[in-house]
Amino acid sequence: MTIGGFILHNALRNKRRAILSVLSVAASLFLLVMLLVTLRELTVPPEEVESALRIAVRNKISIANFLPARQRPIIERIPGVVAVTPFTWFGGKYKNEESLSFAQFAMDVSTLRQTWAELNLSDEEYKAFLSDMRSCIVGRITAEKYNIKVGDKMLLTSTVFPIDIELKVAGIYSGTIDDRNVLFHHKYLDEMLGNPGTVGMWWVKVRSVQDMPRVIETINKTFANTSAEVKAETERAFQLSFVSMWGDIKVLIHSICSVVIFTLILVSASTMSMAIRERFRELAVLKALGFKQRELFALIFAESLGLAMAGAVLGVGGAWLVFSHTEIMKYATHGIFITFEVTPRIVARSFLVAIMLGVFSAIAPAIAVAKMSVVEGIKSID
C-alpha cells in the first residue's frame, strides 16, 4: 500500500464522519463566498469600459436637488466635451405596483448613442424612439420581467412629480451594466411639468481620457459661487459615493465573515482531532514500527488538508456554479444584486481559508501524537 492510499483509506474509514466534515466545511465556505461577493457588490460597483469617458454632474447640495437647465450650453462649450444629456429620475410606480421596482430617467434622446455607446439598440428602434416624443426604451431585464413588447404602453405614476405619464415602448435595449432602466424624452417631461427649467443631473461624454481631469475641473469651477453649485466626478467616483452611504452595514458584513471563518475553524478542528484521537492506538503502532515523527505529522496534515480541500471544492465550486452561471441572486434579491459574480480573487481567498483550516485542524492532534509515548498509546482504548 502506498502512503497516498494509506492516507485516503484512513480519511474515508469512518465514511459518515468524513462526509459530515466535508459537508460542514462546504456549507460554511459556500456561505463565505456568498458574503464576500455581497461585500464586493456593495463596495465595488460594476464597471464598464465606456464609463472611463463619462462625467456625472450633480447638485453639490446632494443628488436629491435639481440643477438649472441653463447650465447645458455652458457645459457644451467646454473643449473636449462630446455630448451632454440631462438625466432626471422620474421615480415612477409601474401600473398598480406598491413600490418602485425599476428606475425611469428622462434624457436627451439625440445624444443617447454618443453618451452610452455600449447600449445596444437596433437602428429602426432608435429611429422610432427619436421620432416619437412620447415613446421610451426599456432595458432587457425589465422587459422580460413584465413581458413588455415593442408597441406596448406603459403607465407610470411619479412619486417625485405630481404627474402620471403614459409611454409607448419604442425599443428594448441591452448591453449596459444594468439593463433595467426605462429611458424617455426629457422634452416630454418638461412639457408635462410646464417647463420648470430644471433637470436631475447631467451626464457628460468626453473625447479622451486625457481630457477627463481638465473637463471635470472646468465644470466644477464654472459653477462655483453660482446659485447652483455642482459636483462633477467620474462615473466611477459617482458610483462609489453611493457606497459610503451604506455606513455600518459594510462593517457588519465584515464581522459576520470573520465569525463564519472562526466557527468553521473551530468545528473542523474539533472533528479532525476527534478522528485522530480515535486512532491513537494505530498511530502508536506506527511509531513502534519505526515511523518517524515527521512522517506521522505528514499523515495527519495530509488527511486534514484533504478533507478541507474536498469541502472547499464542493462549497466554493458549488457557489461558483450557482452564482456565476445562474441568475438566482438577481431574482432572490429582486434585482438589488445584478451580477453577483464569483471572481477569481474571491475563489482564491476562500481556498486560502480552506488551507488555513486544514493546517489549524491538524495542529492539536499533531501535538498530541508527538507527546504520546508508544506504550501509553497502545494502551489507550478508543
Binding site: K60, S62, N65, P162, K231, G247, F262, L266
Partner: protein, 387 residues
C-alpha cells in the same frame, strides 16, 4: 427515564473537547441570528416610536418621502385655518410648515460622504414634537443660519460639534445645539428655521405640514376634509402611522438575517451530528448494557435527542450572552425610505432571545436525530460484545 438522561447529560461533560467546540459553534450561529434580527427590530422600533398620537402629517398625494413632496403656500394657508386644528394659548393654530432637504456631508472618520436629512420647521414645529428635547446648547433663532443637530448624528458626521459650522448650498450653517429624539426617527435629522431653509435651498414650496388635532374625533374629520377636496392634491395621515409605515430598510436586513442563520445552521447541524455520532460510537457497549437492564429503544433515542438539545441549549445561552452587550448600541445605514442616513440601535427583546433559544434547540434536535436513531437500533448482543 431518569438514568439514561442523567447518563447522557454527564457524558457531555466527559467528552468536553468536542462538546465545547459544538457549543461554541452553535453559540456563534445563534449570536449572528439574534444580532441581525436585533438590528431589524431596532430599525422598526425607531420608526414605530416616532410621532405624537394627535399629530397629522400632510404631504402631496403620490409622494413616498417628505423630500419629494410639495405643498404650495396657498395650500398651507388653507390648511392652517381648518377648525379641527388645536390652538395654543394665544389662539394661534398649532401647525408647522416644513421643508425637508437631503444634503451631502462628510462622515467623521473621513470615510466618504452620506446624505443627511435637514428639516426646516416653523416655531410651532418644536412644541409639536414633545419627543424631541434639547440636550446641549440652545435652539436656533428664526432668521439666523443656525441648526440643531441630533446628538446621535453628531457622533457620525464631521463638523457637528456645537460651535462648528458647515457649508451647503453656498451658505454657512452654524451648529448651536444638540437634540435628542428618544430613539425616534428625529434622531436622524438636522433642524433649522423653515424660512431660512427655503431661502438657502431655493424652495418656493413647503415639503410637508404637521398639525396638532383638537381630539381623536378631529383626526378623521380633518383627513376626510383634506382628501375629499378635489382642489387639494394632498394626503393627510396620522404622524405615528406615517413613520410606522417606513419599514423598507428593515426588510432586507431581516431577509439577510434569516438567510445567514439558515446557511450557518446547516453547517452547525453537520457539526452537531458529528459530535453526536462520535458520542454514540464511543458508548456502544454502555448503550447495550442499558438495553439489557430493560430500557426501551425509544427511551434511549429520546435520551440522545435530549442530549443534543441540551448541548444546543447551552450553546444558545452562550450565543445570547455573546449578543447581549450590543443591546442599545447605536449604528447607522442608508434608509430606503428617506434615502438619508438613519441612526438606530440594536434591540434585543426578550421575545427575540426566546426565538434564538428555540432556533438553537431545533439545530440540536436536527443534529442529534440520526445519531439517536442509530443508538436506538443497536442490536443488544453485538453491542455488548463490541470493544
Amino acid at each position: 427515564m431518569g438514568l439514561p438522561l442523567k447518563y447522557n447529560v454527564r457524558n457531555l461533560f466527559i467528552r468536553w473537547r468536542a462538546t465545547a467546540a459544538t457549543i461554541a459553534g452553535i453559540a456563534l450561529v445563534v449570536a449572528v441570528y439574534v444580532l441581525l434580527q436585533a438590528l431589524a427590530i431596532g430599525l422598526e422600533k425607531s420608526s414605530r416610536n416616532t410621532g405624537y398620537p394627535l399629530n397629522v402629517v400632510i404631504v402631496r398625494k403620490g409622494s413616498t418621502a417628505e423630500s419629494s413632496s410639495q405643498i404650495t403656500r396657498e395650500q398651507f394657508r388653507f390648511i392652517k385655518y381648518l377648525p379641527q386644528i388645536a390652538r395654543d394659548k394665544n389662539g394661534n393654530p398649532l401647525v408647522s410648515s416644513e421643508v425637508v432637504v437631503l444634503i451631502n456631508l462628510p462622515r467623521k472618520n473621513g470615510d466618504g460622504e452620506a446624505h443627511v436629512l435637514v428639516r426646516g420647521v416653523s416655531p410651532a414645529g418644536i412644541s409639536l414634537r414633545p419627543q424631541v428635547n434639547l440636550v446641549a446648547g440652545r435652539w436656533f433663532v428664526p432668521g439666523h443660519r443656525e441648526v440643531v443637530v441630533s446628538q446621535k448624528l453628531a457622533s457620525r458626521f464631521a463638523n457637528f460639534d456645537i460651535g462648528s459650522s458647515f457649508k451647503t448650498a453656498g451658505a454657512t450653517l452654524k451648529v448651536v445645539g444638540w437634540m435628542d429624539g428618544q430613539y425616534s426617527a428625529f434622531d436622524s435629522e438636522v433642524w433649522m428655521d423653515v424660512d431660512e431653509a427655503r431661502a438657502i435651498f431655493d424652495r418656493e414650496n413647503y415639503s410637508s405640514v404637521i398639525a396638532r388635532m383638537l381630539d381623536e374625533q378631529s383626526i378623521g374629520a380633518f383627513t376626510n376634509r383634506i382628501e375629499s377636496d378635489k382642489r387639494l392634491p394632498l394626503r393627510a395621515i396620522r404622524e405615528t402611522e406615517y413613520y410606522a409605515s417606513q419599514t423598507k430598510t428593515a426588510v432586507p436586513i431581516k431577509i439577510l438575517g434569516n438567510f445567514l442563520a439558515t446557511a450557518m445552521s446547516i453547517g452547525a447541524i453537520f457539526a452537531a451530528m458529528n459530535t453526536m455520532y462520535a458520542s454514540v460510537g464511543a458508548r456502544v457497549r454502555e448503550i447495550g448494557t442499558l438495553r439489557v437492564l430493560g430500557w426501551r429503544r425509544r427511551t434511549i433515542m429520546l435520551a440522545f435527542v435530549i442530549e443534543g438539545a441540551f448541548l444546543a441549549f447551552i450553546g444558545g445561552i452562550f450565543g445570547c450572552l455573546l449578543a447581549l452587550p450590543l443591546h442599545g448600541y447605536s449604528t447607522g445605514t442608508v434608509s430606503f425610505d428617506t434615502f438619508s442616513e438613519v441612526v438606530f440601535q440594536f434591540r434585543l427583546t426578550p421575545g427575540l432571545l426566546v426565538r434564538g433559544m428555540i432556533f438553537a434547540i431545533i439545530v440540536g434536535i436536527l443534529g442529534s436525530l440520526l445519531p439517536a436513531m442509530r443508538a436506538a437500533r443497536l442490536p443488544v448482543i453485538s453491542a455488548l460484545k463490541s470493544v
